[in-house]
């Protein structure tokens, strides 16, 4: 569906989703969980119709190697299995402490960005919250959302009526305006510019949840480099965070902050990350084709890194060691900088300038250390803190941009 105007076809899409909301609101939790899990299982199965179609289309359309697609697809679908879906519902209920909630009449999701699986988690949350949704997938989403909707229709045709998928260009403002004005809540993902544009089109009564520009950082405390074996595990995990989606997502780490004074120095860790871990992933899961525009940035970025400190590079990846220099944004496509820091206090100072744009902080340390790091972060920061190796794999309950994943989908009410 396309065109510059908000057409009758768009109107019908909205009406059908709203109508589908009736069945959704009456559905039991078990029915919702089963439908979502069955749809995910269909896509996870490469021998199923939609599963095979996905694997045929996505690598070329998303610009990712098939091995990268398989890995990211399985990760994204794994959170839609029955146990995590039930756990998510329990988390949602606990968060409201038994207070009554009511679902929004209609949600509108506008996705933009480089991660082709980005629609799955929000779509699942809309259904778990019993909110019908019209969704515009990201241009990088090479058909996954449509195939998920098809798989959902196979699993539970009545519930699938509550999902409408529509594609339109960023210049088709009338379509966005038309959809958004009919929704109670709009979630938008993409650049800060997109956020401003979408927000400007919303009626005053429509809730807006913004997921703008973002990046990830990683922190390697001294204790994680207490021996070569430990350092190798950390490097391998970090390399995976860098390589998944070819470092094009807003959770991808751009820089790794390594605490000095460990058995392995930060510069040696940079060499390890490059020569062992990213090199291995380049063989197992090669980088996808890089646009020349990114190549132009990569050439400049690596050159500056080489002069600031050390450059370790290979066919399809690059690691710079930049000591105490300010953090630069990487061009992505498996280019990551390693910096040296003195400890958690320095980490907080290094992270602070990124504010709400810091969406993920991978930490090579156990949970109690991650909590300790979280408590030391400045008030402006609300990244998802996780173990390295899991930065690209947020669970269903993971917060985004400081909000619960169901933000705006469900409203609390009181009867006094």
């Amino acid at each position: 569906m396309s065109g510059e105007a908000f057409t009758d076809a768009h109107e019908r899409l909205v009406a059908r989703a709203v109508e589908g909301g009736r069945a959704l609101r009456q559905a039991s939790s078990e029915r919702l969980v089963a439908a979502l899990a069955q749809a995910a299982a269909r896509l996870a199965d490469p021998t199923s119709g939609p599963g095979a179609a996905l694997r045929e289309w996505i690598p070329e359309r998303a610009g990712l190697h098939p091995a990268n697609v398989e890995r990211t697809l399985q990760d994204a679908l794994a959170v839609l299995a029955e146990p995590p879906l039930r756990a998510a519902l329990r988390g949602f209920e606990r968060a409201h402490h038994g207070r009554p909630t009511t679902p929004a009449r209609l949600a509108c999701f506008v996705l933009a960005g480089n991660v082709y699986t980005a629609a799955l988690r929000p779509l699942a949350w809309a259904l778990l919250c019993r909110v019908p949704v019209v969704l515009k997938p990201a241009s990088a989403d090479a058909g996954l959302t449509e195939l998920f909707a098809l798989a959902l229709a196979e699993a539970d045709p009545e519930l699938a009526e509550a999902v409408g998928v529509v594609r339109f260009g960023r210049d088709e403002a009338a379509v966005l305006e038309g959809l958004a004005s009919r929704a109670d809540v709009v979630h938008a993902w993409g650049s800060d510019r997109t956020m401003v544009e979408v927000r400007a089109k919303l009626p005053a009564s429509t809730a807006f949840v913004s997921h703008g520009h973002g990046l990830g950082l990683a922190y390697v405390p001294r204790a994680a480099l207490s021996g070569l074996e430990s350092a190798e595990r950390v490097a391998d995990a970090l390399a995976l965070d860098v390589a998944l989606y070819d470092q094009r997502g807003c959770l991808s780490p751009h820089a790794v902050l390594v605490e000095g004074g460990g058995e392995l120095s930060p510069v040696d860790f940079a060499a390890l990350l490059s020569e062992r871990s990213l090199a291995a992933l380049a063989r197992e899961m090669p980088r996808g084709p890089m646009p020349l525009s990114v190549g132009a940035m990569q050439v400049q970025w690596r050159g500056i890194g080489a002069v600031r400190g050390e450059l370790f590079e290979g066919d399809g990846w690059g690691v710079t060691f930049e000591g105490l220099h300010p953090i630069r944004l990487s061009p992505g496509y498996r280019n990551v900088a390693v910096h040296e820091i003195s400890g958690p206090a320095a980490l907080a100072m290094r992270c602070a300038p990124f504010g709400g744009h810091l969406k993920a902080l991978g930490i090579a340390a156990p949970l109690e250390v991650r909590w300790s790091v979280a408590s030391g972060l400045p008030a402006s920061l609300c990244p998802r803190l996780c173990e390295v190796g899991h930065m690209q794999r947020p669970g269903l309950l993971s917060a985004g941009d400081g909000d619960a994943p169901w933000a705006g989908l469900s409203r609390v009410f009181d009867v006094d």
Partner: protein, 349 residues
Amino acid sequence: MSAEQGPGGREGALRQRIAEALAAPLSPSLRDTLLAEVAAWQAVVNPVFARLCKARRARFDAGPEGWPAVPTDLFRMARISVHPVPVPGERVFHTSGTTSGVRGAHALADLSLYDLAAETAARAQLFPSGPMRLAMLAAHPDEVPDSSLSYMLGRFEAWFGVRTDWCWRGGALDVEALIAALEGAVDAGAPLALLGTSFAFVHALDALDGRRWSLPAGSFAMPTGGFKGRTREVEPAALHAGLVQTLGVHAVKGEYGMTELCSQMYEHGGVLWVPPWMRATPVDPDSLRPVPDGDAGLLRLDDLANLESAVSIQTADLARRTERGLVLLGRAPGASPRGCSLAVEEALG
């Protein structure tokens, strides 16, 4: 100053040999030999280039691809010079800036190679018939002493101008001066060269508001700089057409230069003329090796006249080698916008 640097040292000897090479016919093999010699010397005396060479395991016996080119962004972050500390009296040219607001700097203690390269190339490509009337659509060098474009145009005035009108003053187009230059050329039947930034030409076309001239034969326009990141972007072909229609110039010869270089190239009919003392090579962003003919690559420039900074520069501009020659494809989308035109727009506020 060590035995390496300065007029009496190795630098002076290299300068002399480069000057001789610029002034005489130069074969590609001799050019490449000299480039390697200069690069090897710079890798010793230029600390930034030395670090880059170490990181990229430079070799100087395997042709210019054996050593790295300095990315243009580095000029914003470090002093790229064979004189690690400023030399008294050196001239520092600054880039027009980027969205980050940090401007690159190119310091030159001795402008003799810059002058020789600029005069030789311009005489061959712009002024083969000798001096003529000039109208400058860029600030006078007295007004913007750190602009390499203004410096070059100031030198053009001395070398090639029989009469020169500076039509950009105080940060704005002086429309009356431009109209006077145009009408003076028409009345005298004397060809006029209009030289300036692309963005200034766009402002001039707007300001002339539909009026048209038919300049005498031999008149031409030389726009330089791009528009990326500017509030108003005009395709080069549209600008060229506008200049021909409005001014009645007989040729548009685009200049391709940058603050980080001491030499300039000129574009005719979409093909880039590269002076014999330069190499212009589209390269692959991963391998930094030349791309096959016909493929687009990032333009690497090797310039013998860049004796004091870095002989090899890696730009973010796209180019393709074709049967007709080297074709510029513009700035890679997403790369930091740059170019002299920015200074003009900044001046406009």
